[in-house]
């Protein structure tokens, strides 16, 4: 093994970037374009296939289907009741989903809610919590009767009153903002965890009993805000791997990790494309040859930019040998030796 070790090393100069790009791009044609739901009652929708890869690579600020996996602290992860009580705190329940109906009087600005006993019970909320939540809002006069909650809103304009009503109905009673659905699931070891639609790490981590070191979100930006760029880098690589594996395709992790590093090595997440990595290249020619040709040339002349022709694209453009791969190797000769050769000629 030891004597063969060198044989297994990457060759110096190897165009590892292109190899990585090809390795990710080549199986792209075999991936599905639509991210449809693999039906199953107890699963959360996630974007899959090519759309997900593109989403990650584009570094979109808001993923199409953010999701979290919330693990419990080791002490309680096998206790269903406790996990369930945490689950209650996670899923966002809106006012509109615990009422049977409502009546609105736009002249007087009153909204009459009919809380549903059944629905309240289902989410383990009582009417008092609901009233308390509604009272927190400013400018409300909330009165509660048996089976009826009456809210009087200030203001005269119909349009304004109407907006307030709509906002009221979309007020969360319990749960964390942004988490539209949460499900308790059990892994092979019998430990319970929660998967969610929607992601809000900041709030989830505040809940007692949640294992802060294992909380998982598929939103790189959120992970970066919470745990830093290294965590985001790991997440990008991991999500790419998961997405590709799910399609039954095999791409070495090293290519994905190189892409993740390329996207994050500056300290912030940069997208692959004209607004990210490719658009911020030093070389004017490299940028111009990619997209927005004229813009790059005009700006370069105003700022007096200098292209020192160090990259691949520039050298191809001007017809020189590229500086990577075998083109990286250069032969030198000392002046003395050169003289000797010339002398003998």
């Amino acid at each position: 093994m030891a004597e063969k070790e060198n044989e297994f090393r990457v060759s110096p100069g190897e165009a590892v970037g292109v190899v990585a790009a090809q390795s990710i791009g080549e199986p792209g044609t075999q991936m599905v374009l639509r991210s449809f739901h693999s039906a199953g009652i107890s699963s959360v929708i996630t974007t899959k296939g090519l759309p997900r890869i593109i989403e990650i690579v584009d570094a979109r600020k808001k993923p199409k289907s953010p999701t979290m996996r919330i693990y419990m602290e080791p002490g309680i992860e096998k206790n269903y009741e406790k996990v369930r009580s945490i689950w209650r705190k996670v899923e966002e329940v809106l006012v509109s989903s615990v009422i049977d109906g409502f009546e609105e009087d736009l002249r007087t600005g009153t909204l009459m809610l009919k809380p549903s006993k059944e629905k309240l019970d289902q989410f383990e909320i009582n009417q008092r919590t609901l009233v308390a939540k509604l009272s927190q809002k400013e400018g409300m006069n909330v009165t509660s009767d048996e089976g009826i909650v009456k809210i009087k809103v200030k203001g005269h304009e119909i349009k304004q009153i109407r907006t307030t009503f709509v906002n009221l109905l979309n007020t969360p009673v319990i749960g964390i903002h942004g988490i539209t659905k949460a499900l308790v699931q059990q892994d092979d070891d019998g430990a319970f965890y929660i998967t969610t639609s929607g992601s809000n790490m900041e709030e989830v981590v505040k809940i007692d009993g949640v294992d802060k070191e294992r909380v998982y979100s598929n939103d790189p930006f959120e992970v970066m805000r919470m745990y830093g760029i290294e965590a985001a880098r790991a997440l990008i690589a991991h999500e790419l791997k998961e997405t590709i594996s799910e399609e039954g395709l095999d791409v070495s992790f090293r290519h994905l990790s190189l892409l993740a590093d390329a996207m994050t090595y500056t300290g912030s997440i940069k997208s692959v494309g004209r607004h990210g990595i490719s658009g911020e290249k030093k070389s004017v020619f490299a940028r111009a040859a990619y997209e927005e040709t004229v813009k790059h040339f005009t700006n370069a002349s105003v700022f007096g930019e200098v292209d020192d022709l160090s990259g691949v694209a520039e050298n191809i453009l001007i017809g020189k040998q590229i500086g990577i791969g075998t083109g990286r190797v250069k032969l030198g000769i000392s002046k003395a030796d050169l003289k000797k050769i010339k002398g003998s000629d």
Partner: protein
Amino acid sequence: MQAEGIQYIKFTTIPPETIKKISVAKLIVPDTYNEDGYPIDGGLVDQRLGVIDPGLKCKTCGGRAKSCPGHFGHIELVRPVMHPEFAKTIYILLQSTCGKCHRVLLKQEQIDSTEAKASLATTEEESHEVKVSEVEQERIPILKKLKSVKKCPHCGSPQAKLKFERPTFYSIEGNRLKQDEIRDWLSQISDDDLRVMGVDPTATRPEWLVLTTLLVPPVNVRPSITLETGERSEDDLTHKLVDIMRINQRLEQDIEAGAPQIIIDDLWELLQYHVTAYFNNETPGIPVARHRSTRPLKTLAQRLKGKEGRLRYNLSGKRVNFSARTVVSSDASLTIDQVGVPVKIAENLTIPIYITQWNIDHARKFLESKEYPTVVNVIAKDGTRKRVADTNRDDLLKELAPGQILERQLIDGDIALFNRQPTLHRPSIMAHMVKILPGKTMRLHVSATVPYNADFDGDEMNLHLPQSLEAQAEARYLMRPHDMILSPRHGRPIMHIEEDEIAGLYMLTREDALFTKEEACLMLASVGVYELPKAERNGTYHGRSIFSMILPDDLNYEGKSKLGKISIKKGQLTEGIIDESMIGASRGELIIRIFADHGPEAASAFLLNATKLALRAVLAAGVTISISDYYNTEAMNKERFKIIAEVEAKAKQIAENYRAGKLESLPGYTKRETLEIETMAQLNIARDMASEVIKRSLDMNNNAYLMATIKARGNILNFVQTSMFLGQQAIRGRRPSRGYGRRILPYFKPGDKDPGAKGFVRSGFFDGLKPTEFYMHAMGARDSAITKSLVTAVSGYLQRRLINAMQDFYAESDGSVRDANGGLIQTIYGGDGVDPTKEVIVAERKQQK
């Protein structure tokens, strides 16, 4: 010795004075040729700008059409006009400076702090390290804030709001600023203030961006073409320049004649329009200038931009010589690293022989030859190229000396790069040894089709001949097919065995594969083995021992295939059936092992021999299918109808739950969508159930089933769809739902709840489909055809972006990954510095330890 070439390129704009210096002619006549078809002096094809007609001489350099490089001219604009591509830059500059004293609208202390940074940038600039990102990320945001400054911090005058109207107009409080006013304003901004704003005044003085002189490109940049009718057709740029000059001339005349201001302003604006269109005919806010034929004119920006533009079409991708393209077909007698080249192509392509004292005799033989492998050109020491003909051959032979280069025709053993598009990954270009063959197609071994993704239904491929010795050596030692057996994508074989060959090896290595001496001899002779393995007791030869003859003698392998344990001891296959997981697409264990222990050449030889042996074996055994393979037994048919009934009942149950409001909606979906998804899922299960039935009821005596099981050809789903039923057809991942009112086809009743009315096909190909089912199936097929064409477009763009983002990354000698400017991407490539093609080998070795 070769010069170092270009070191760096600095971008600047050309000041008007320089334009006049570059220019060889001031153009004054807005026309091209006179009635005699002769170029007008001072016109747009003035002979001082170079010539394109053969026979004419350039009045500047005296060169002819081919030797004259072309010379620039200029047009003096009577009134200044904006350069449209800089309109936005100018807007930012105007906004950021005072309308009265023209100083930058930053407070002195802000200027001082940015100047400190700027001076830092100048020192860096001396080493050509301008920080673009600094300009774009730091300066521009600062400047953007300046538009809301109300009062100049320097002279105290109030700042009116400046409005930019596309494409090239600016106004203050409804009063349009004239181009000359803008030019004056810009010229009064000091160099120091410009530096504060990030502008390099040595590269661009902002007043240069308002044009007073227009540089006119040489004629050979905009050549006119002569049609068959003898009519001249000018280039789009010439047309636009004529427009500019015509308006310029009229404007001049009107000004001299003292025409009213309105007329002058109108002409001025028209001049501005023509100049704008000349630079970029797609500038937003201007009407597109068109050719007589209503085709939009291709002006300067259009020449550079996009896929067909100068950069991507001519500079990033170049046309090459020494290449060939034709249809490919297969040839089983070639090795994997050969390529069959038609004689016709070989006669036309050449390889240089660099003559030295050591190879002069070898070279002479080619020059002496009057037919096929002969010399086409002789390149003398001074670089002049002479074509070899029978008339001058003897002379050339006499002059033959070291230092000359002969261009000889292609012969066996030359190295050639072979490529098929789309070139999606590294093994899409490999270096093959040339083998000259009769016929008109290029030929390759079937095992080499996989990395190219080629088949022989009319595919064409390209052949390139590296000319320099360095390039040939590089191809020979780095790009041969056997070096590409293991994919850089995952470290597993991409060159492997498929279809018939898999069936062949199965037939060869299964338990009861016994062959007579004659059969064994035939098979082994096909791979060049002329001795027999040890015979069985009854005098027959087991397929395994025959197969073992092509294994390296010291190969030891223990593993599991899909069909059971595999055991190879000292090059003898003692147990197990060689299947797809050993040498096929999924894992290719055996190939990896031979590659790792015995090297690329051995792996390539093994692949080749295995192919040949397998084809003999499959020929001997005969694997054929017939319609009877798909015939259902009574019991199978019973189960088939049971499955259909079962899933349909379940689907009905779901529908009833939905109507009763008992259906729990899936997260993120409405109840209605949930109904659809769950019904679909339920109906899809039918296929899985049916494939279980097939697996239970059939055995390896059914050849169609056998081929599906060993992954030679087809899969169980094909089987299910043939002998059982097609199952649910999908459009956009859902059941068909659009069409004829509340039904898919007029055959159904509106709102029909039957699964068949929504694309569930109960018949199989064996029985034939009902008309409605056929329609549903066609819909599904069309959808998947459309989807496929979309995926290629989307993933093609993804690939382009990825490559563009990462193309500069390379592995440094210390194992780190760097970008073009030495930036550190990874400290150790992939965390372990391992070559991706060797990744699986390394992982396996680690496991063994």
